[in-house]
């Protein structure tokens, strides 16, 4: 079972995320098209929509990893720290690195390329491992982990990062029910600590059960707000109607 790590509870507030008329493209075709949405400070929100609806692209624009063609993403507060949990596919899971070293990567914003780690840093890394149920895994190479364990490891790295805004891209893919429950507990803890959490998800039941707020995307924003209102039958039908293919002959957008 999960142990709850008792850290000093510091009052914090994740940033509010304001998305204004955002367009981001892949080869000029919009993946996110004139989307406006607002997430309040400290909200726990899901981003849902059919495949190819621009969910990942949207997350990456907030993290500053995808070029914004038009519009703006604004985070409130002074220099909020942002952490992104990408999908696992971009990672080299055969890389010869120990779990504890992956944890220490979470301190990059403070340690950078050159500074050394202190005993307190290593303690924090160890605690994060224990918090996701990987207590004895410090000296284990990541190549020897299952997909679910690896996902726990990435969550633990997010714990170490201690960010104000946490972006999760399909965090519960390829994990079993127990792992998903454990990771959800971490999510709730973040929410309780006042951090802003945005997660791309496919499981609508899970969203309805656990996420107070929701943004339904189908390249354009269908609805944004309290989950129960956003995920109405009418809105879901509209999202399903989205044409997945590009229109090769699409003219330049005039809007």
């Amino acid at each position: 079972m999960m142990q709850v790590v008792t850290e000093k509870p510091e009052p914090r507030r994740g940033p509010a995320v304001e998305i204004a008329n955002l367009t981001a493209t892949h080869q000029r075709h919009p993946a996110v098209h004139h989307v406006s949405a607002r997430f309040a400070a400290g909200s726990l929100a899901a981003i849902v929509g059919p495949n190819g609806a621009g969910k990942t692209t949207r997350l990456r624009t907030i993290a500053g990893l995808h070029r914004v063609d038009e519009g703006r993403v604004t985070l409130s507060g002074r220099k909020p720290r942002v952490a992104l949990l990408p999908q696992q596919s971009g990672m080299d899971r055969a890389f010869p690195i120990l779990c504890l070293d992956v944890m220490l990567q979470g301190l990059w914003s403070r340690l950078g390329a050159f500074r050394g780690t202190s005993a307190a840093d290593r303690d924090r890394a160890q605690q994060a491992l224990e918090a996701v149920g990987l207590g004895g895994f410090g000296r284990r190479p990541v190549g020897a982990m299952s997909a679910g364990q690896f996902q726990r490891l990435l969550f633990a790295r997010l714990l170490v990062q201690d960010a104000d805004l946490i972006l999760l891209d399909e965090p519960f893919n390829a994990v079993d029910a127990r792992t998903a429950a454990d990771l959800l507990a971490v999510l709730r803890r973040w929410h309780g600590e006042g951090r802003t959490v945005l997660a791309v998800l496919h499981d609508l039941e899970l969203v309805q059960r656990e996420f107070p707020d929701c943004l339904l995307l189908a390249r354009e924003a269908i609805a944004c707000g309290p989950t129960a209102e956003v995920l109405s039958a009418h809105n879901r039908l509209r999202a399903r109607m989205m044409a997945e293919a590009w229109d090769e002959t699409a003219p330049a957008c005039a809007a």
Binding site: P86, M91, F95, P96, W108, S109, A113, F114, P141
Partner: protein, 287 residues
């Protein structure tokens, strides 16, 4: 004992060859480990052949002079590194075919240039190197490159490892991946140039890649692999030179062959993914 130490006590050229090869063996395999982990082992080969036209041009202008040939090689190597990077981006990471074309052209161009003016002996020198004919400038180049490579690589270690393991995270944390990778490629070019003095253009990456690939079978973690690769490279250099002396073999190929034997031993007997560990079934553990 005499078999082991005799040649080095007796002959100055053997001592120089040993010092030069050990200098190569200290730095180059570390680069090889990263090349292997990035799945860009071919890059080393491309750069080794890519420097050839530059070296040949230096030879045409100034004869067998280490500074002229090295400068030419450096320019050509950097040009190829930049070109290979552009090819890699243009082909979306599927650059191997284009790179193969590039290095074949570079090699042919180098050989042609040397043949314009030089003798067969010069050509042999270009292709296979002259470990036993290492002169002072060459020795200085090899030692200097190793001296530069180690501290620079120590500084670049963490960004390189992070970029390799999780490029998305590295980008999100603001790691300048392209910058570090560029620096890394410069180091590879320098090491290839240093190795060229001893092993020639055909064998230059032998001490870089073979020990690195072999090291994979001795450690599960990056730093362990680094130590193993350097250890294997140094042993290969020493025993390669001894084999060359006692068995009257050409020295460059002897060193690479020794590194090859070390690799074969690693593949069979290495504790990590070794063949023997796979063949011999030991009872499974209780938990």
């Amino acid at each position: 004992m005499d078999w082991l130490f005799g040649p080095f006590i007796e002959f100055g050229f053997m001592r120089r060859a040993l010092v030069g090869c050990l200098a190569l063996a200290v730095a180059a395999p570390l680069l090889g480990v990263f090349l292997m982990l990035r799945r860009t082992s071919l890059t080393a080969e491309v750069l080794a052949h890519g420097v050839t036209p530059g070296i040949a041009a230096g030879f045409l202008i100034a004869g067998l002079s280490v500074p002229a040939m090295s400068l030419g090689g450096l320019i050509a190597g950097l040009a190829v590194a930049v070109g290979a990077g552009a090819l890699s981006r243009a082909t979306g990471g599927r650059e191997d075919a284009a790179l193969t074309a590039l290095y074949l052209i570079a090699l042919a161009l180098g050989v042609t240039l040397v043949s314009l003016r030089g003798s067969t002996a010069d050509l042999t020198h270009l292709l296979f190197g002259q470990v036993l004919g290492v002169d002072d400038p060459a020795l200085l180049l090899m030692a200097g490159v190793a001296t530069l490579t180690l501290p620079v690589l120590a500084l670049a270690w963490r960004p390189l490892a992070l970029e390799c393991f999780d490029p998305g995270f590295a980008a999100a944390e603001g790691v300048r991946g392209g910058l570090w990778h560029g620096l890394f490629l410069v180091l590879v070019v320098l090491n290839v140039l240093a190795a060229f003095q001893a092993m020639g253009t055909l064998m230059a990456v032998g001490l870089m890649m073979l020990p690195a690939v072999a090291a994979r079978h001795w450690a599960r973690e990056l730093s362990g692999m680094a130590y193993a690769s350097v250890g294997l490279a140094m042993l290969s250099a020493l025993f390669g030179l001894l084999a060359s002396y006692h068995l009257d073999l050409p020295s460059g190929p002897a060193i690479v062959l020794t590194a090859g034997v070390a690799w074969a031993i690693s593949v069979i007997f290495g504790p990590v993914d070794g063949l023997l560990a796979r063949w011999v079934r030991r009872p499974h553990l209780a938990g």
